[in-house]
């Protein structure tokens, strides 16, 4: 009735308020539980399976909070910064270690490791440095290496095997059509495939990362730049970047990446990261794809492009180096958690060799030497040998507490040059050095 419109409005408002308040109070869960936080992707699903064993053994329920990659860093850094106790355990990115250590977001694990005979020597050294140590190369551990990952490449083995293509390539380049071992070879092979019609569709040579918003293009370009002479700072003079970051080799590396992107990337992939690469490869658009090893188990099983059709190779070398970009995360205990002891129990369980082995079997990627160095592993899957090799040649981005501005500055400068054709690579790197000096000044580290 219109006459009671105000009453109606008031009642509705009150009702909504009541509903809100009622719905806002959550029921208390019975029994013990731990919340594990990570990014939402295939390996996370594997973790859900793995954790069932933990629950069976200890009776502690495992809850999972997975956030998409695009908001993974924002979301969890926010959470950690505000000392929320929403996560008990977190599998945090290797880049967060600096901030986590200096701001005491994580529980320092040295004493715990000593008491429980968990030795960092059982893990690959690169993963210990990358996922656990801060300051780098000192025995201060803030996490347990959990997910070993690096950038690798997939290729269409079936296309590489086609006799007519092999003949054509041999005639043109005077060598066999094989997975490339250097960036020069990579570009040759990519250009060879670009524009060819295969299975009735026009295909392209290669897919590389080009994402602007979070970290994509940086995680891609470093794979070229490391191998042409780029480094972050003078190894003898900490934070000294002039002449190192913007060296001639570094600029050449960026040019090489740009050349590959311009000639051979499928159209429209100017802001593309992990998912678009998988899509492009699975839908038969590209001959070779750059992506994280974490996805390779899934690709190997793909009905369209898996099995015999797919091959893997490690990041090609360059004239000045043979590196690949480190990915991966470490398992850490959140200092603000209300269940630190239970969380540590989980870490102890996770570090056991049997669990590490099962973790890899289910689809994760253990960083344990025992798992990776075994012959059984190297034979277990087509990507395994190149993965083990890759983990031995990894290099990581800054892990400073202020890594985000450093990363965003590089995203900006690289994307401007590689995708938007602004200026030259040397100019981009010169501007980047200026950007980074500014950031370090904010941190109180004067790089001059």
């Amino acid at each position: 009735m219109r006459m009671n419109k105000t009453n109606l409005l008031l009642t509705c408002a009150a009702g909504t308020l009541a509903l809100t308040l009622g719905a806002a109070s959550s029921a208390q869960a019975e029994g013990k539980s731990l919340t594990m936080c990570w990014a939402a992707w295939d390996p996370a699903n594997a973790l859900v399976e793995l954790d069932k064993d933990f629950t069976a053994k200890t009776g502690i329920e495992m809850k999972h909070e997975f956030v998409p990659w695009t908001s993974y860093a924002d979301h969890f850094i926010n959470l950690l910064n505000s000392r929320s106790s929403e996560c008990d355990l977190i599998i945090g990115d290797s880049q967060w270690i600096g901030g986590a250590a200096e701001n005491k977001w994580y529980v320092k694990l040295n004493d715990f490791f000593d008491k429980n005979n968990i030795s960092m020597d059982t893990f690959l050294p690169a993963t210990v440095v990358g996922y656990a140590e801060w300051p780098k190369n000192t025995p201060n551990y803030w996490g347990l290496p959990a997910m070993a990952d690096a950038v690798g490449w997939t290729y269409r083995k079936d296309w590489f095997a086609k006799p007519e293509l092999r003949a054509e390539f041999k005639a043109k380049y005077n060598r066999e059509l094989e997975p490339p071992k250097t960036w020069d070879e990579l570009i040759e092979v990519a250009k060879f495939f670009t524009g060819k019609e295969i299975d009735g569709k026009k295909v392209y040579g290669a897919y590389v990362f080009s994402e602007r918003g979070s970290e994509g293009i940086t995680m891609g370009v470093t794979n070229a730049m490391y191998n042409y002479g780029f480094d972050y700072m003078d190894p003898k003079k900490p934070y000294q970047m002039e002449g190192i970051v913007n060296s001639a080799g570094a600029a050449k590396g960026m040019d090489v990446y740009k050349e590959l992107f311009t000639c051979c990337q499928p159209p429209g992939l100017t802001n593309a990261y992990m998912q678009e690469g998988l899509d492009a490869f699975k839908s038969g658009q590209v001959a070779m794809q750059m992506n994280w090893y974490a996805f390779f188990p899934g690709l190997a099983k793909d009905p369209n492009v898996g099995g015999d059709k797919i091959g893997f190779f490690k990041n090609p070398a360059g004239p000045a180096g043979d590196f690949t970009q480190l990915g991966g995360q470490g398992l850490s205990v959140v200092a603000a958690s209300k269940n630190v002891d239970d969380a540590l129990t989980y870490v102890k369980w996770f570090a056991q060799p049997e669990v590490q082995q099962k973790w890899t079997d289910l689809g994760g990627a253990s960083a344990s030497k025992a798992v990776l160095d075994s012959d059984a592993y190297k034979k277990s899957a087509a990507y395994a040998p190149s993965f083990v090799e890759s983990m031995g040649m990894v290099k990581d981005f800054w892990a400073e507490p202020l890594y985000v501005p450093l990363l965003l500055d590089m995203q900006n400068r690289v994307h401007d040059y590689v995708v938007a054709n602004k200026g030259t690579s040397k100019q981009a790197l010169d501007s980047l050095v200026k950007d980074w000096i500014k950031v370090f000044k904010q941190e109180g580290k004067d790089p001059s």
């Binding site: 219109r2 006459m3 419109k5 105000t6 409005l9 008031l10 509705c12 408002a13 909504t16 308020l17 509903l19 809100t20 308040l21 719905a23 806002a24 959550s26 939402a40 992707w41 295939d42 699903n45 594997a46 859900v48 399976e49 909070e65 998409p68 990659w69 695009t70 908001s71 979301h75 926010n78 959470l79 505000s82 929320s84 929403e86 569709k201 992990m274 998912q275 678009e276 998988l278 899509d279 699975k282 839908s283 038969g284 658009q285 996805f295 899934g298 099983k301 369209n304 689809g363």
Partner: protein, 317 residues
């Protein structure tokens, strides 16, 4: 419609002009709706079809997208699946066919519920406060009314991102971070400026003679407001409510920055529905389509009020 009815159809456009106008509008409507049709169709595609190269116009429909939207699944090996008991429900079967096992419900229903509570809650509150304030500005001589009204308008001029940082700190301090109440208050504050401006126009149009008569009859001001003005402003209130709801329902930035899991609504959630390593387009499309439905229904239901309300508020005496 207009206040004066003309006895002869002097200004009626000729049938030809009418037909042409209609044709152009229908053409525009169809073109403008095509993207939505494509997204609606994508909701019923399989993942492979959704990213097919070249894009598929005809495809075999499946409910995969919806199943992916509402459940959390894990990728398992064939052997593992072979050992499980046969699927009991149709959605389990869909998942199994793709080598996935359903691990539980996704959090989309919670998000949807949050959208309902926060969307409708803030709309009600904003409209309520707005109609009161609009009445106040319309009927009484408020000091500095013009300036106050401009001030109310200016609250829309600060980019949400900018106020988000101080509000974030303020909310943390007050314990309103990641709460529905917090979001309702925030959206109300944003909407109330539009509500006041719109409703003031409507209320200005309601002839004061009615209230005058009521007051003379012995009603208090409050009673006159409730019994005389409000009913007449109903269409204006409906129109305002629609605009407020559209904003609150679809707001993204504040919700992204000021909530984490308890009070998150659909807009920050939909674009990031992840499949096995990347965006799951059928699920995203399914989420988009379902999310559009309530507001579409709300608007269609009140559509006559919408048009009439705006028109009514605009009629000159």
């Amino acid at each position: 419609m207009s206040a004066v009815q003309s006895p002869r159809p002097f200004s009626e456009p000729s049938p030809l002009v009418r037909w042409l106008a209609g044709a152009v509008v229908v053409l525009y409507a169809i073109i403008t709706i095509l993207p939505l049709v494509w997204i609606g169709a994508t909701a019923f595609k399989s993942q492979e079809d959704a990213i097919a190269y070249p894009p598929k116009v005809f495809f075999k429909p499946t409910l995969e997208g919806f199943v992916d939207l509402f459940t959390v699944q894990t990728h398992q090996s064939h052997d593992f699946i072979a050992k499980l008991p046969p699927p009991k429900t149709w959605y389990e079967k869909i998942a199994r066919d793709r080598d996935m096992v359903i691990a539980g419900p996704s959090r989309v229903v919670e998000r949807f519920l949050n959208s309902l509570i926060i969307g409708f809650g803030s709309t009600l509150l904003a409209t309520f406060l707005g109609v009161l304030a609009a009445y106040g500005f319309s009927r009484f001589r408020v000091p500095l009314a013009d300036d106050l009204l401009f001030f109310i308008l200016s609250t829309r001029m600060m980019p949400p991102i900018a106020v988000a940082v101080p509000i974030y700190m303020m909310y943390r301090w007050l314990g309103l971070y990641d709460t529905r109440i917090g979001m309702i208050l925030l959206y109300t504050a944003v909407n109330v400026s539009l509500a006041v401006w719109l409703l003031k126009g409507f209320i200005d149009e309601i002839p004061r003679e009615y209230e005058e008569a009521a007051l003379v009859d012995g009603y208090t001001r409050l009673q006159a407001f409730r019994k005389v003005v409000l009913p007449q402003a109903a269409t204006g209130i409906a129109a305002t409510a629609i605009f407020c709801l559209i904003f609150s329902w679809n707001e993204y930035a504040f919700n992204l920055l000021l909530t984490s899991s308890d009070a998150q609504t659909m807009p920050p959630y939909i674009p990031f529905i992840i499949g096995e390593g990347g965006q799951n387009w059928p699920a995203v499309a399914a989420g988009t389509s379902l999310f559009l439905l309530p507001i579409m229904i709300f608007t269609i239901a009140l559509r006559k009020h919408l048009l009439r309300g705006i028109t009514f508020g605009a009629v000159r005496r």
